[in-house]
Amino acid sequence: MRALTWHGRHDVRVDTVPDPEIVNPRDCIIKITSTAICGSDLHLYDGYIPGMRAGDILGHENMGEVVEVGAKSPLKKGQRVVIPFTISCGQCFFCSKQQFSACDNSNPAETGDPSDIAYGHSMGGAFGYSHLTGGYAGGQAEYLRVPYSDVGPIVIPDGMDDDKVLFLSDILPTGWQAAMNCDIEPGDTVAVWGCGPVGLFAIQSAFLLGAHRVIAIDHYPRRLELAKSMGAEVLSYKEVDVRDALDEMTGGIGPDACIDAVGMESHGLSIDNIADTLKAHSFLGTDRPHALRQAILACRKGGRLSIPGVYGGVADKFPIGALMEKGLTVKSGQTHVQRFGRQLLEMIGEGKIDTTFLISHRASLEDGPEMYRHWHDEQNDYTKIVLKPEMAKGDVKESIREVEHA
């Protein structure tokens, strides 16, 4: 089959690779119909994530049609399914507590050691995201092997387009969990740092969960425009002092809850790796680690801090004093996708949630390397790229959006 493979920094290729096969009884194989490039894929692209090996297949936002099932899979050939990016067994202590991204079994024994050493306990598994999270092939390919297919896949009813449901795989539940972690109360103002896909879905989710106001922070005009179209008030940090603005917009109290949807994906296995990664990040974007510090200082006393943005290593000059003295509650973590998938699917069906507004470009797998370049270099115009293996090479479709101002 054809697949997008990682070969090093800024080196993504389309290769012909073997087809996946059923390995364990609970597996299924899907034929990919849509697969998106995630913001976090850029950090693989930039070469910041250790544990990648040349030839790894990328892609963790996947959906498709079931074409093969193992002996213990309840799925049927022909069913359309969205695949959560987290791989979860459904039977360990963590899965039974609905903490699916903390699954104790999905990261194989051999690949669990590095995160065991770096984080104290080994991480759960994920598709196409380095050998730290299990070394599973991703779905930016024609076919994908899905372990534990009785737990993860969300079966999609006929008549719902891929574009409406694809983001159930990652960014929609991630935005939803970010807002859930804010424990929103009536009258609350929620501030969201970062208006990428997760930030935008967090804005949408915060309103659905009863936020009185949402204030969104970014600098790309196009992304702030999208945030505004969802009902958020917006701040460009290039125009205003964010903390000053947030205080003045909240009667001097500060936002009740703050969401860091920026993150800093520096993973590290050893002291020198962590240090190198931090250095690399500080050369590339000094404001990125800044977002979390700013959120802590901006948040009201006794407020809530939600961190869906990914961090991997250790942080320097972390305002632990402000965090403690103001009595903030912090909730974070990779998304427990399996916990929210079916509920969010219903809300999409009822028209309460729309995800299609985000997609700016659709392209073939063959155009994948080019799309990675655009996604990396043109973040204002490329708000989300969906790859469809059935599309022909060169047939790139750009959505022309009309943004309504709230």
């Binding site: 070969h7 996946p20 364990n24 030839g55 067994c89 459904g90 534990y148």
Partner: protein
């Protein structure tokens, strides 16, 4: 979790325990004397070790005549009897023990293990079961003249609040080739402490999910197939 009061019986042998306490006490007292006051030196040595943790977590691990002590615990979300019964069938070890190629029962109590060693070699190990308490404990040791001297046991405890079973694997071993052999084994990741950690993870996977987790999937690396697990 088991506390000092129910330390695994492998440490109950007087010689091993005495060594453990002795070494621990000497270091602890020396440390206290250095940090605080010389008068502490006269305190009762048996009081010096105050932690409730199992002996294999001690900074100064006991090194008895049986070799290095290693231990590893894992919580498995299944009932104790079921876990015990699965472990009791030694011939299933190759399903979850990466370096065990086969286990053959010679008689009720005696098992012949074929174990993979560094650089494609195999080592044979013959053990006899010394204790078998259904649902609680299985212990074994290598017979006289074995190329590896080892003794081990696996203990089963109920985890609190219906969380399943805590499995503790405790072993002492003298690797072939002594310290050098141990270093080589570590280099090739055949070192017993690493093996024990991974083997227990696989056993847990098998018990909880019915499968040993495998990342086997395609890549653009021609050296690999889509059905082999890879690191």
């Amino acid at each position: 979790m088991p506390s000092a009061s129910n330390r695994p019986p492998i440490m109950d042998r007087p010689s091993a325990q005495a060594t453990a306490l002795g070494v621990g006490a000497v270091i602890a007292v020396a440390g206290a004397a250095f940090l605080f006051t010389r008068s502490n030196r006269s305190s009762d040595a048996s009081d010096a070790f105050i932690s409730d943790a199992p002996p294999w977590t001690h900074r100064d691990k006991p090194k008895g005549e049986k070799g290095t002590l290693i231990g590893r615990s894992v919580t498995i979300n299944r009932p104790r009897q079921e876990i015990y019964a699965a472990w009791r069938d030694f011939t299933r070890f190759p399903e979850y023990m990466d370096n065990v190629r086969s286990v053959e029962m010679i008689d009720q109590k005696t098992a012949r293990w074929t174990i993979e060693a560094p650089a494609g070699n195999t080592v044979e190990l013959v053990t006899e079961t010394t204790h078998d308490v259904p649902g609680e404990r299985i212990a074994w040791k290598s017979i006289e003249g074995s190329s590896i001297t080892t003794a081990g046991e696996v203990l089963f405890f109920d985890a609190p609040a219906g969380r399943g079973t805590i499995v503790q694997l405790v072993m002492t071993y003298n690797p072939p080739g002594g310290t050098v052999g141990k270093m080589i084994a570590k280099l090739f990741q055949r070192e017993p402490a690493i093996q024990a950690r991974r083997d227990l993870r696989r056993f847990k996977q098998l018990m909880e999910t019915g499968e040993v987790t495998a990342n086997a999937s395609p890549s653009a690396r021609t050296s690999e197939t889509a059905t082999e697990a890879r690191i």
